[in-house]
Subunit: 470 residues, 2 copies
C-alpha cells in the first residue's frame, strides 16, 4: 500500500525484524514437515541467541520449547511476531500482537491480495498502521543475517558474511541468492523477503540498510513499486551503491507479478522504471546473474573514477570477448598509448614477443606469475589508469594457484590507491576454487569475461552517480 515518505517509526522498528531479542512464532507446528515447524527449527539450527516462543493452542511443546496458546500468554516481551497461520486467522493474531505491544510483525502466510483478497489485505494494513505496528509481508519467505546467526523463515541456508543487503519481493529468488552465497561465496549483510509489501515498503528497508554498518551495497529485487516517489527519496538519501532488478514488465509478466506478489504494473513500462531508477541513482541490472555479479562488485570495490580500464590476460580470446562487451555496454576500452604515454612499453617488458601490449593486454598463454606481477604492478601504479581487470586462463603451463595468490597480494598492496580491481578466471575446477578464494579476499571474480566487464561498467556508473551525490 502507498506510503508518501519513508516512515520513521517503521525504519526504527526494523531493527526488531533483523535483530530481535525475542520472537514469537505463531503457527509453530509439532510436525517436522510443516513450514510452521521449519521456522522454529531454522532459528535453533543456525544459532539464534534470543528467546523463541512457539505459539500453538494445541501444543504444550514445539521442538523442545514451551509453547503458548496465544501471543498474549507469553510472559516476557516480544520484539518480533512471525506469523505462519492460515489467512483467516491473521487478523485476530494481529489484535493479540497489538495488545502485547509487539514491536513488529512478519506475515509469511499466502493467499491474500495475490489471489484476489485485496480488501482483506488492505484491512490488515490499515489496522497495523492505525496501531503503529509495522507489518512485513504477507506472502514471504523470511529474513536473516549471517552476522547474527539469524535465519527466520522457511529458508534452508544462511548466506556467508559479506557486503550486500538483499531486499527481495520474491522468496524463490531470495533463496536462489542465498544458495549462490553458499556455493559461490556471494556475501551478504542481511536479507529480507518483502512479499506483497502490504505495509512496510521498499523505501523503509532501503533507509534501514543505508544506516546498517555491515551493508556496503543494496540489492533490490522489485516486482512492482506502489510508491515510486518514496522509493526515489529513500535511495537519494543513501550514500551507498544500490542495484535494482525489476520484473513484471512483459505483457504476461504483468499478470504473473500480480498473481505472485499482488504487484501492480498496469500503466507502467520499462521506460518508466528506467526513469525512476535514474532519479534514484540506482543501477538497474537486466538479468539475475548480472544482479548478483554487479552488487557483489559494488559491495567489495571502490567506484572507478574514469573509464581508463586496463585488462591484463593470458588469453587473447577472453580479451576479445571483454573489449567487444565493453563497447556493447557503451564504455569502449582505450589503447594503452591513449591512456598513458609509456605504459605500453613498460608492460611489454613482461610478455613474449607474440604477446600484445594493446589493451586488452595479452601477456600470452605462457605467462608466468612474475610476468603477471610485472604487468599488474605497472597498470596499478599508473595514475592515469582507473581500474584493472585481470584474467587467468588455465593453459598447460599456467600456475593458477600462484597467480591467484599474487593477485591477492597485489590487491592488498595497492588497496590504498582506491582503484577497482576485478578478476576473471575461466576454466575448470581449479578456476572455480580461484574464484572463491579471490572473493573471500574481497576481489570480485567471475567465470566469464562478460561478467567481469558488467561488474566494471557498474563500478564506473557508480563513480558517476556518487560524484553527483557530493
Amino acid at each position: 500500500m502507498i506510503v508518501k515518505h519513508p516512515r520513521d517509526y517503521v525504519i526504527d522498528n526494523l531493527q526488531y525484524a533483523l535483530n530481535p531479542k525475542s520472537i514469537a512464532v505463531v503457527g509453530a507446528s509439532r510436525y517436522s514437515t510443516k513450514v510452521g515447524y521449519k521456522v522454529v527449527d531454522g532459528l535453533k539450527l543456525w544459532g539464534y541467541k534470543g528467546d523463541i516462543y512457539p505459539v500453538n493452542p494445541r501444543a504444550d511443546k514445539v521442538n523442545g520449547l514451551k509453547a503458548y496458546p496465544t501471543v498474549k500468554d507469553i510472559p516476557e516481551e516480544v520484539d518480533l511476531a512471525f506469523l505462519a497461520v492460515p489467512a483467516h486467522i491473521v487478523k485476530s493474531v494481529l489484535e493479540d500482537c497489538v495488545a502485547k505491544k509487539v514491536k513488529i510483525v512478519v506475515i509469511a502466510t499466502s493467499a491474500f491480495k495475490e489471489i484476489g483478497r485485496g480488501a482483506l489485505q488492505d484491512e490488515l494494513t490499515q489496522y497495523c498502521r492505525d496501531n503503529k505496528l509495522p507489518l512485513i509481508g504477507p506472502n514471504l519467505v523470511g529474513m536473516g543475517s549471517p552476522y547474527l546467526d539469524f535465519n527466520c523463515g522457511f529458508i534452508p541456508y544462511l548466506p556467508i558474511k559479506g557486503p550486500v543487503a538483499m531486499i527481495s519481493q520474491s522468496g524463490a529468488n531470495l533463496l536462489a541468492a542465498l544458495g549462490s552465497s553458499q556455493k559461490d561465496h556471494y556475501g551478504m549483510s542481511f536479507f529480507v523477503g518483502l512479499g506483497n509489501k502490504a505495509d512496510v515498503d521498499f523505501c523503509e528497508f532501503i533507509s534501514y540498510a543505508g544506516r546498517d554498518k555491515d551493508t556496503k551495497c543494496l540489492a533490490v529485487y522489485i516486482e512492482g513499486l506502489d510508491s515510486p516517489d518514496a522509493f526515489i527519496e529513500a535511495c537519494q538519501n543513501v550514500n551507498k551503491p544500490i542495484v535494482t532488478i525489476k520484473v513484471g514488465g512483459s505483457k504476461i509478466g504483468e499478470k504473473a507479478a500480480f498473481a505472485h506478489t499482488a504487484s501492480e504494473n498496469a500503466g507502467t513500462s520499462d521506460a518508466f522504471y528506467d526513469e525512476v531508477f535514474k532519479k534514484a541513482g540506482a543501477i538497474r541490472a537486466t538479468t539475475w546473474e548480472e544482479f548478483l555479479d554487479i552488487s557483489m562488485a559494488l559491495g567489495m570495490q571502490p567506484p572507478a573514477k574514469g573509464d581508463n580500464i586496463v585488462m591484463i590476460t593470458n588469453g587473447g580470446g577472453s580479451g576479445l570477448l571483454s573489449c567487444d562487451h565493453f563497447e556493447r555496454r557503451g564504455m569502449p576500452m582505450h589503447e594503452l598509448n591513449e591512456i598513458s604515454p609509456s605504459l605500453s612499453d613498460r608492460i611489454r617488458a613482461y610478455m613474449p614477443m607474440f604477446g600484445s601490449p594493446l589493451n586488452p593486454v595479452d601477456i600470452s598463454g605462457t605467462a608466468s606469475p612474475i610476468q603477471y606481477k610485472g604487468a599488474f604492478t605497472q597498470a596499478m601504479r599508473d595514475p592515469n589508469v582507473h581500474g584493472i581487470i585481470g584474467s587467468i586462463c588455465p593453459t598447460a603451463v599456467t600456475d593458477v594457484d600462484a597467480v591467484t595468490d599474487l593477485v591477492i597480494r597485489i590487491h592488498d598492496t595497492y588497496r590504498h590507491l582506491g582503484k577497482p580491481f576485478i578478476m576473471e578466471c575461466q576454466g575448470g575446477n581449479e578456476c572455480q576454487e580461484a574464484i572463491l578464494k579471490l572473493r573471500d579476499h574481497g576481489i570480485p571474480a567471475y567465470a566469464t569475461a562478460e561478467q567481469a566487464v558488467n561488474a566494471m561498467v557498474a563500478l564506473y556508473q557508480y563513480g558517476k552517480i556518487s560524484k553527483g551525490h557530493k
Copy 2:
C-alpha cells in the same frame, strides 16, 4: 587464407588430425616445463592408443619414448605431424613432412602473421597447398576427442563425452570450454583450435563435423572469416544445429583480433556477420556463456516446433525473470488458456490455492514431487505444447533430489514425443548437483532463468531453420 569452397582433400584428411594412428611431435622437449614436453605427456596421460614419435635432434629419448632427429628418420608411417618448434624452423620441417608423405600438419607455433610476419605465413600456406598437405594453424593450442582418449596440444583437460564439436580460433577460450566441460558437464564430441587458420579453414572443419557421427551440434568461435561464402556453403550443407560467436567487432577489438590470430575485420561490421550467419542458418550467441548454454541445448534436445512453451516452477520469481526474458528475446510466452483449452484446469489440480495456473505456472514453494509430476505430465501430453521449462527452487520443503529424479523419468518416458525439455535449478550446492545429474541424463539444465530461456529460444530458432532445410 581465402578458400573458394570447402576442399575435399582437406576434409578427407581431417580424420588424421582428429583420429590419427600415429603422431610425430616435432619440437618434443626433454624438459617437463616446456610446451614441447607437454604435448607428448598429454598424449600419454590421456591414453592415446596410437604411436607417438618425438622429434628432437638433440635427444635420444623424450618422456620414455625413442626420439628421432627429423620426421624423415621415423621408420613408420606418420598420419599427423604436430609442430611446436620456433617459427624460423617451420618451413624446413614442412619439407620433411612432404617428403615423408605425412597426411596433415598442425603448427602450434606462434609469431607469424599476428606479429606482422604475414609474408612468411603465406609462404607456408602456399607451400602446403601446392603439395596438398593440409596445414592447421599456426598459433593454436591443439585438438582432441574424449571418445578417442585423444588430447593433443598444450591442454590440461579432456572434456566429457557429449554432443558438441567445438571449433575455436582462440586457444584460451577453447581451454575455458574444456574446463567448463569438466566442471559443469558440458559434453563434447571433439574440439580443435584453429589459430591463424592459414590454410585449413572453418568451412572444412564444419563439413567434417557435419559427417562426424558423435557430433550433434557445432559450436564455432570466430575472430574473423577470410572466406564467408565458403563458410555459408559449408553450413548450408550441414543438417545439424550450428552456433556461432563472433568477436573482434568493436573498434579496439578489430586490432586485438589481428594481434591475437591475425584475423582481419577491416570493412566488416556486426551487421555483416549477422547477415552471413543468417544465410548460413547458424544461430549467433552474444556472450560466451550463451554460446556454451545454447550449444549444449541444441546438442541434447530436439528443436521446438512452435512457440507454445510452458514453464512449470515452484518459484514465482524465477517465472517472472523467465517471461520477461522471453519477451526481451522476441518470443513472448502465451497463457495456458491460449495454448490449450483445458490445460489450465488440468494443471490447477496440482497446486495449492495460492499457486498460479497462468504461464509461467507457479505450483508454489510448497510443491511436492507428486505435484511436479502431475503438472509436467499434463504439459508434456498436451499436443498444443511445443516445449517445457521446469524450474526447481530450493525452499525449506523442496525435495530437490526427488524432483530431479522424477524429471529424468518424465524426460525418458516422453522422449518419443520430440518435445524439448529444459530445466532451471537456482540455488546452492544441491542445485549444482541436480544440474550436473540432469545434464548427464541429456537434459540441459542451468542455474538461472535467463539461461534456460536463451536455450529454449535457440531451440525454437533452430526449429525454424531446420524447417527451411527440408
